[in-house]
Amino acid sequence: MVPERIEREIVIKAPREIVWSVITEPEHVGRWFSDSAAIDLRPGGALILTWDEHGPVYWRVERIDPPRFVSFHWLRGGHDPGDLELSEGNSTLVEFSLAEEGQGTRLRVVESGFGGLTGSEEENAKDAEEHRRGWELELDELRDYVSTHVVGSGRP
């Protein structure tokens, strides 16, 4: 079946403090995630992660324990400032864990909560368009991938 959570990790040849700064400081996040970033790094603090082409997505700091752990709610509602409010079922949770390993750092990321994203079945049908907007960013590349690899590959 389809996994409910995504777990990935990587070993980095850099001290944990440096990896921490890359994950949490706007000038770095604006390179590995979006095109630019504004970050209020404290519990409940907002992250505004902006792509030049697509506009912003919003995260909120859930928990922070430098330089070992930080987690964020990735708000999936849309791209208006009003969508910055966290509510039931409108976010996935992204957790970064940093462990020292020799001279380097083992970085693990877990994204979960896909299952909690949608509301009732009525809401699903009714808000199909709204939902579509929410996923647009994430699905941009997927769309290309699917049209190349799946739709074109022998579907009747």
């Binding site: 990587i10 390179r31 590995w32 896909f114 299952g115 699903n124 199909a128 994430e138 991938y145």
Partner: protein, 122 residues
């Protein structure tokens, strides 16, 4: 483009719901089922099952056939495969991001290790 199974967004919305995921599992195990038999396996009403099935049907994850008075459902493997691939694509994006984090961190460590360490440990 055909609506059925053609819309990845709808597909993802369909599998994101825990009840529907459970429903798909049961349907996979049973091979073929009606809303009534599925409702026996799940803590929801037959009406709720029917609505979930309609969402899954629209997303191309199940297909239905009428047999007499009954509507029977089966899982569409192509739809499931697509859903699994879409999650795999999210995972692949994290792999890309982690690679980017690694590159940035290692280049910072090479160029200015002491400065950054001091800054962060305050």
């Amino acid at each position: 483009m055909s609506r059925r199974g053609g819309d990845v967004d709808e597909l993802w919305a369909a599998v994101a719901d825990p009840t529907r995921r459970r429903l798909l599992d049961v349907l996979l195990a049973q091979g073929e089922a009606t809303a009534t038999t599925l409702a026996r396996e799940l803590p929801v009403t037959r009406q709720a099952v029917a609505k979930h099935l309609a969402v899954l049907d629209r997303a191309g994850l199940v297909e239905s056939g009428r047999r007499g008075r009954e509507v029977r459902y089966v899982v569409r493997p192509q739809g499931l495969d697509l859903a699994a691939r879409s999650m795999a694509s999210v995972a692949a994006r994290w792999d890309q991001r982690l690679m980017a984090i690694k590159e940035i961190a290692e280049s910072v460590a090479r160029t200015e290790p002491t400065k950054v360490q001091k800054e962060v440990s305050r």
